[in-house]
């Protein structure tokens, strides 16, 4: 299965990006482009949902790491929704589990967002982006 990318705004500076299908060397440039396009329209906080991802390889992880870096350059950040054991193991293997804040579902993110504001996009033990409202 190829990759579908669904994007929905969570606020003027925040977007939910849902990935459906396989993220590999063929499809990851589209993920990279989607993140870049959103950044150019002023989005700097991302929640990327991996719940419907069937396969994610190093190029997909690279696109997420790159998107996070560019978001942080603008004072934002990028968090993930992921409860799939296989993908969580991949994040653990690559050390990225300690870089991304990972939520088991969107509801947990929204609860954190209500409590913490934009700090909910950042890993709690890593200094986040700016404290400006999205």
């Amino acid at each position: 299965m190829e990759l579908q990318i669904l994007r929905r705004n969570l606020g003027p500076e925040a977007s939910l990006i849902e990935l459906v299908g396989e993220v590999d060397i063929y499809t990851s440039p589209r993920l990279k482009a989607t993140l870049q396009e959103a950044l150019e329209t002023g989005i700097r906080y991302f929640l990327v949902s991996l719940e419907r991802v069937e396969m994610l390889d190093s190029t997909g992880l690279g696109a997420l790491v790159g998107g996070r870096a560019r978001a942080r350059e603008r004072g934002g950040d990028l968090a993930l929704v992921c409860a799939q054991g296989r993908l969580l193991r991949l994040l653990q293997i690559t050390g990225l589990r300690h870089i991304f804040r990972v939520y088991p579902d969107e509801e947990h993110f929204l609860a954190a967002y209500r409590a913490e504001g934009v700090a909910a996009f950042s890993h709690p033990v890593i200094a986040g982006g700016s404290n400006d409202a999205p």
């Binding site: 590999d24 060397i25 396969m55 390889d57 690279g62 690559t94």
Partner: protein, 137 residues
Amino acid sequence: MPPEALVSLRVPGLPEYLLVVRLMVSGVATRMNFPAEAVEDIKLAVSEACTFLLERRRPSAQEVPPLEVRCHLQEQALAIEVEMESPPSPSGSPAAEALEPAGLGMLIMQCIMDEVEILETASSLSLRMMKRLPPAE
């Protein structure tokens, strides 16, 4: 199953063919009764191996080199070779870039497969990897 069966696939060395490669190795691993989680690991590792080779393709190469995937179905393991022809460098020495650290992809392959090695000759670059079947209960 014979002591060692071979299933091979040759596709153009282009990213859009990785889906085809994953379908092939998935079928082979399922045929060998690997658990579902191991089948996913094998698909990911082969995808990473193909990506490793595609990223090291010489930009100067005019023609798309074929990517060849060979699955050796052994009694207790699946051995996979992924190979891409690589034209000799001008000096005739093996491609130096192949020896550079491979980053996340290599780390993933090493963590999810039992063995991984890179082989380089003057005319090709390949990865060999192995996944052993879990002991029968």
